[in-house]
Structures are given as structure tokens and as C-alpha cells.
Symmetry: D2
Subunit: 262 residues, 4 copies
């Protein structure tokens, strides 16, 4: 009798890399919305999902995640990770705009697999982002007008994208995956058919308990760099529009197939 | 038209985490065969696959891997990784013994996914192993009688298993996954059915071009440690029997379903 | 004309690992005060400094640091690090109690060298600590009675010490290096006299701009582990007394020699 | 009675980051000699040491190091590290050319401090280099004409320099720090005088037991990148001349002051 949700497939499932949902997440986020040439995005979105509008969002996040009971919070190497998320807005016939995640990089294995199960194509990357601490001190980057925050992502020892934010002092808005449902593409290669590419299935995470009491508006700036493997550069120049910083929590209970998701 | 073997699913597939096989591997390995109580292994092996014999092998490997053309060897952050492998020997009705991998830990994302596609349940872990250098020098650990070599694995900042080898000067033997076919368990959780555990499918890697011209025999010693998540301790005491060190190369071309594998 | 404060010694000093002070620090800290057998501490404190009282404190910190101007906050890989600090209380003849840092482990080079210049004997180690986020969410560990927080330190892939805190809901106290001046031991081996051990000089950091508006009291628990190299175990059992969590900022402007420090 | 060679200053010295020499090193190296504009190097060399000739060498090394007894080889997280070394050739009045190391990056703390004590200005960096394995296999990069090898260095998540080598099949030469004595600059900032820069002292490591039985010649190529902190770009274009690959071992017994070194 096997009770393992993911490998390794032991009888107890204790060592499974990922336990079944619910998965609770809470984190600090820097979000920079951007405009790009919509023709660029087409190579990054499965055609069945719709057409990129030319708007997207870059998120840098420092997450803390746990299951029911919160045991991971007592051994936080199991709870914490940082990631960089790219979300593109899709125009969808007969429906409201949705988001799609073409790229995402994380620094931890549990989150990597949870992402794939949701159709978020996680790879390993090194994300850094300034934290805003509730102190008046030169190193604290407190939440008030004029404070500057930075973030960076490096993939395989090459910097891929950076952002800088300057808080305006005004309230901010929900952006990117925090503003609309995001569709994921799930597909597993079958090594017994090693020359076939999988046809991804599309799902939307079943999210509950979203808390994000306040966002702080910012002026943002994005710098991206060429990379021999990553394809972020297909989006061309990323022209920052709106930006925000703040804390958010949410819970993933599972996923819905796309027909439900539409 | 999607040509991505694994996420992300872009039109070009250039940034896919894993490209289709062939996958070429060459590495330095420390191998320690062990005996353990066979009843312990039952919780770690899918019942359909057979019964653990009580024999297994611990491998510590420093790999270099690439596709055809070898581009990764020019940017070796894409090629190199270290891993620790546990293989158990299975008695199989009507067939020769086979191996099964209940646990494996690696330090790199590309290898993690290649492993999952072959049914090797990789998680992240930190492996260290002494290299044997072709020099007569106190730090070189050259290949001759009396040289001592060490290896260790840490998972989530806790040491899980260590090994020490002393070369005997005699030729060594092929051990563990190098001595017999190893069966993998492939299964993907479906987040739209979040309370169901996947039924794994069993495959055997389709391996070609094995080169391992020489193994150096060693006396081995294994020390394992309790861990709050990992289940290696279910195997009880690991009593080292034979051990060896050496280089090996092999190429994975795909996988065979288990009916072919039997 | 050389203007480098630390290696490398270039003309501009731009690439020096550490720039001259001031060094501004702001961070999130978990602090657990402990009692231990005072005889144990004597092997860890230079005799000239005084006698351990048998009281000490373990700090886990997630820091953000920068110089004047705060450029590091825009490229936070230069600003952020995590560390674990052990402080022992010393009885000092003719003076108030002082602290001494026998051990400290950090995960970043800039902080490592800044520490040595202050007489804090930093080595590399991997520290994790739960963050308290201002959200009501199962993964947020908010600052209220009953919230549980964890921390861990691993050195060379072996877990060395862990702590767990449960917030009481009451205000907390300043503990450890936050409660009293801490003396550091600075000494550099001279490789032209390779068999001599340096005689350390004793300094106290010149600290200004301390901000720590509020501490949250907690019940704490410490578990430490044997280690083949680290000597924390010389302190014997660490019996947690008071504990607290909170944010603190401070600025180091330089250091004072011990005669000033007394 | 203090017996600690480096911090922490405990009675036993067991946990000192660095033990007294001898320090035994054995490793695999990729070496690429280069020409650059000699005027560029002046900002990187203390004037007292001489004048850069415009020739230098870039070394990428995968080291294994230990003290007498070799205990580190049994727990190789204490023995192994990778580093990237830049050496410049100096014209010295009245003496043969010497080398000077303006920059070096390593991935481990023990080596960092051993470097500083020898006047090698180590900072943390991530080095990767292809290993040559004694196998005929596509992933093995064996030592024969036509084999291609790569190396890279990243500092604070930005790639700083890369090299590619193609083995010619001919014997190679000793290059860089392997060809001539290299002078180091040792200097420690004094935090009680926080606005003063130290005047470095110059030393040369006292090296014995050099073994490097064979070098394999290569055609090399270097690509370097701008960096906001590192100053490698002051050397301008690095035009690869000779290159080689191979194993080397050496033992450092201490250091000689420069008057001896001249």
C-alpha cells in the first residue's frame, strides 16, 4: 500500500519530496509590471492558451511555505525559498484576461516540484531581494516614500534580470499573478518515447485564503541580460510600468483543469 | 508547434530544463556494497517489483554529463554534479536479480529531472567525495594500496550518511547499479486529484556505451544517521561488504517499460 | 597611492572585500538566552578577559547591511546574510559584566571579514530562521501569542544547533550582545613564523544608532549536537532561559581598544 | 594557554578555521596565459613590487587540500574547493621576473583564510571547470588532441570570466604561478583606526614538494565581462597566448618576507 504523493515512493510517504496540498505560502514580494512587444511573447505561450497582450509582470519573492500544522516553520530550511516569476497577460476569446507563467526560477527542490505540479516551469536560480524592515535605520529600507529596493536573478552563474524600485508613499495595486488567475502547463516527458515532446495539459491552481492587506506603490526599473540558455530575451525590452511591494499569503488546495478554469 | 521536451514549454525548446536523450555521463565513483536486514527494505520497494534480498549498494559520484556535441563541457556548470545513490537488490520471480533505487540525492536541477524521468527519485542533497589524483602527493589520494578516501551526504543541512574506503591494491568489482539493471518508478501526482497518490510505472533505462575499464578494490565502512524526513534509517545498520573506486561512463538513450525490462 | 581598506589592494579600493566603516546593519533576530556550566566556558575565553559566568545567548539573525549611501540595498546579494552567534557573559573584575563571542558562523564573505576586524571569529555556516510576517496566515508566523518559530545552524554539512521559540504575547527583553557590550579578539597569524600562535588584541565595536523598538518574549528551547571540529559542545547542555524575537538596527563606526573598553 | 593559529581562539585550537602549516594541495588545473596592456596593470600592483610586464595567467583549479595526516581527505567537505586565480608577471629591478596575484576567488572559508595569510586576496566566487577523465566517452573530455574544456567564474551572481581550451596533443608548459615565485600582499585593517588603509607586507610562500609530472598543451580563449565591483576589467582585453591543463601538487610550509624573497 503506497501512500507517497511524489517520489520517493515509500510505504509511509514520509520522505516524499512533496506532500499533498494544502500548501500554505506567505511571503514578501517586489512586483514590477512591464510592457513588451506582444509579438515577442508568442514563442513563449502554447498557442491553445491565447495571445499575449504585451503586458506582463516580474515578481521577486521571499516565501515561507508549510502544510497544515506548520511543522516546516519549526525547521525553516524546509519552509523558505526565494524565486523570480515572469507572468504574461493573455487575451482569451470569450473570457477575461488570464495570466500565464512562461518562466520561473527558484532555489529549493520542494518548491520546484510543487511548481511543476501546478504547471509553473521552475528551474533553479538565485534570487535576491531587499527586505523592508519596520525600523528607521539606514539598512532597514522601511516602507515610506523614497525608500529604494533592489532585486536580482542569476541562472547558472549568469545574471539574467534585475529590478530597482523606489517607493512613492502611495498605496499600491495588485499586479501580475496577484491580480488575475494564472494558467499553468503540466506535461511530463515519457522516456520510453524519447523523441516525443509532451502535450501539456492546462490547469489553474485552486487558491484560497488570499491575504494581502496592503501594497506599497513604487516606481520600477527592469534591466535584463542576454543568456545562452534562458529565453527571457525573447520578450525584448521590458519597460516597467507600475510596481509595488508588500506581503501576501495564499493557500493552494489543488488545481482545476482548464475547462473548469475558463 | 511546441518542441520542448520538458518545461518551460517554449517554441524552440532552447530553455527546456532537460533536452531529449541521448544523455552521456562520465564520472568518478566510490561504491560501497552493504548487507542489511531484508525486512527493512520492504517499506521502500513497491511490492509489484519484488522482494529486497538484504543486499544493496551506496554510490557516491562526481559526474560530468552532456548531450551529443558536448556543449555542456564548455560551460561546465551545465555538466557537473555530485550525487549519492542507494540501490537495493531485488529477488524477482522468474528472472535474474535486479536493482531498485529507493533514494538518491543530487545537487543540480537538470540531473534532478533527468532522474525523475528514469524513475530515480532524486531530491536535493550535498555530496562530497575524495578524488583520486594521478600524483604522488599527500593531498592526492592516488590509486594504490593504503590510500584512504571519504564521502558524505547531507540533506537539508543534516548529515545523513558517510563512507570511508581504504584501497587494497587489488582489482575491484562492478557493484550496485553498475553490476545489474536497475528499475525505476515513474509517477506524477495530478493536482486536480490532490488526495490521490500516483501509481508508478516501472522502467529501466536504455543504456549504451558503458565504459569502466578498471575498478580499484577497497575496504569500506558506512555510517548513517537518523533524519527527521529521510527514510534511509529504515534499512537499519548498513554493514559494508565489498567496496570499489573508479571511473565509469555510460549513455542513456531512453527507457524501456518494465514488460520489456523483465 | 593605495586606498584599499582590505584585500585586494588596488589603487582605487573599489573591489576591496570590505570598505571602511560606517557599517549599517538591520535585521530580524531570534535570541535564546541559556545557562550552562561555567567551568565549560573557560576553554573558550582568553583568560585575560575574565571568567564566564555560566550565562550566554544564542542569536540567529537575518541581516541586511550597507555603507553610507546604501548602494548594497539596490543589489542585495551584497547586503544580506544570515548568521548564528554565541555570546558568553563574562564576570570582569572592577567592571560591569561584558559579553564575549567565542563562536559565530555566517554565510557570506563580506560579513566574514567585517567580523574578524571586530574580533568576532566568523566561519562559514548555514543559518535558517523563521521570519515573522505581518499577515494572518498559516505560513506567516505572525507576532502574537502562540506563534512558533524555528532556527538552525549547520557547519560543514552537519547540523550543530537548533532552537525553537513560542511567542508568549508579552513584551520581550534585550538579550545577549543586544544587552551589553561584547568584546572581540583580533589576531592574525604570521606565516613567516608559522609555528607561533598570535596573541589576540581585544577590542569593542564602536556602535551607534541602535534601534530596537520592541522585542517579543518567547519560551525557547535549544538542541545542540556533537561535531568533529566545532567546539560548541564544550559548553555542555544549553538550558534555555529567556528568549525573544524582533528587529534591530545598529551602526558600527570602528572599534575601541580594550583599555578604552574596560 | 592559547594554542589557536586563527580564530576562534580556543584553548585547544581544534575549531580554528586554519591550522598551522604544512598545507598540502593537489589539484586539477586549467591555465591560460594572456597578454594585456601593461599600463592597465599598474592600478592593480603595489608600486613597491615592480611594474607589470603585460603578461599574466588565469588559472582555474579544483583543489584538494589537507594537513599532515590527511584527515581532511576522509571528510572531503574540509578538503575540496575550486578557485580562479589571476597572476600578473612583474619586472623587478635586479631580479628575475616574479608573479603577483591581484585577484583570486574561492568557494570555501578555510582556503579563503589560508590565502589571506599568504597574501592572496581571496574573495568568494563560484568556479567551474571541466575535468578530464581517463575514459573514452563523450562526457569524459579525455586527455588527447581535440578535447575541449571549459571554465567559468561568477562573483556575486555575475559571470566575470570564462575560458575555453582545446588540447593540441602536445606536451604543455608550466605557466603562471606554476612557473615562477608569486609575491603576496598581507595587510590587516585596524578597526581602531578606521580611516587608515593598511600598508601591506610582502611575502612569498615557502613551497616544497612540487609535483606536476606532465602538462597538456592547449589553445586557449578568454572572455571577460564588466562587473560593478570587481576590477578585472582594468586589465583590458585578455589575449590568450599559451594554455595548458594538468594535475599539480605542492606543499606550503610557511612564508618568507620579501627581503628573503627578492
Amino acid at each position: 500500500m503506497l501512500r507517497a504523493f511524489t517520489p520517493p515512493f515509500t510505504a509511509s510517504g514520509r520522505s516524499s519530496l512533496v506532500a499533498p496540498p494544502p500548501w500554505h505560502y506567505a511571503g514578501w514580494l517586489l512586483n514590477v509590471e512591464f510592457d513588451c512587444d506582444p509579438t515577442h511573447g508568442a514563442a513563449l505561450v502554447p498557442p491553445a492558451l491565447g495571445r499575449p497582450t504585451g503586458r506582463g509582470c516580474l515578481h521577486f519573492a521571499h516565501w515561507q511555505a508549510c502544510g497544515n500544522g506548520g511543522a516546516e516553520l519549526l525547521d525553516p530550511i524546509y519552509a523558505q525559498y526565494r524565486e523570480t516569476i515572469v507572468v504574461l497577460e493573455l487575451a482569451r476569446d470569450g473570457g477575461p484576461p488570464a495570466g500565464y507563467c512562461p518562466f520561473i526560477w527558484v532555489d529549493q527542490d520542494i518548491s520546484l516540484l510543487r511548481g511543476w505540479l501546478q504547471g509553473w516551469p521552475k528551474k533553479m536560480g538565485s534570487t535576491w531581494l531587499t527586505l523592508s524592515l519596520p525600523l528607521e535605520h539606514p539598512a532597514a529600507a522601511p516602507l515610506r516614500a523614497g525608500t529604494r529596493l533592489g532585486a536580482s536573478l542569476s541562472v547558472k552563474d549568469r545574471r539574467l534580470v534585475e529590478a530597482r524600485l523606489t517607493l512613492t508613499g502611495a498605496p499600491g495595486e495588485r499586479l501580475g499573478f496577484l491580480a488575475r488567475p494564472t494558467i499553468g502547463a503540466v506535461g511530463w516527458a515519457d522516456l520510453t518515447q524519447p523523441q516525443d515532446c509532451p502535450q501539456p495539459q492546462f490547469v489553474r491552481a485552486d487558491i484560497a485564503d488570499v491575504v494581502a492587506p496592503q501594497w506599497w506603490a513604487a516606481e520600477g526599473q527592469i534591466t535584463s541580460f542576454a543568456h545562452p540558455v534562458e529565453e527571457l530575451e525573447l520578450l525584448g525590452e521590458l519597460r516597467a510600468t507600475r510596481a509595488s511591494a508588500g506581503w501576501a499569503g495564499l493557500t493552494v488546495r489543488g488545481a482545476l483543469g482548464l475547462s473548469s478554469a475558463r
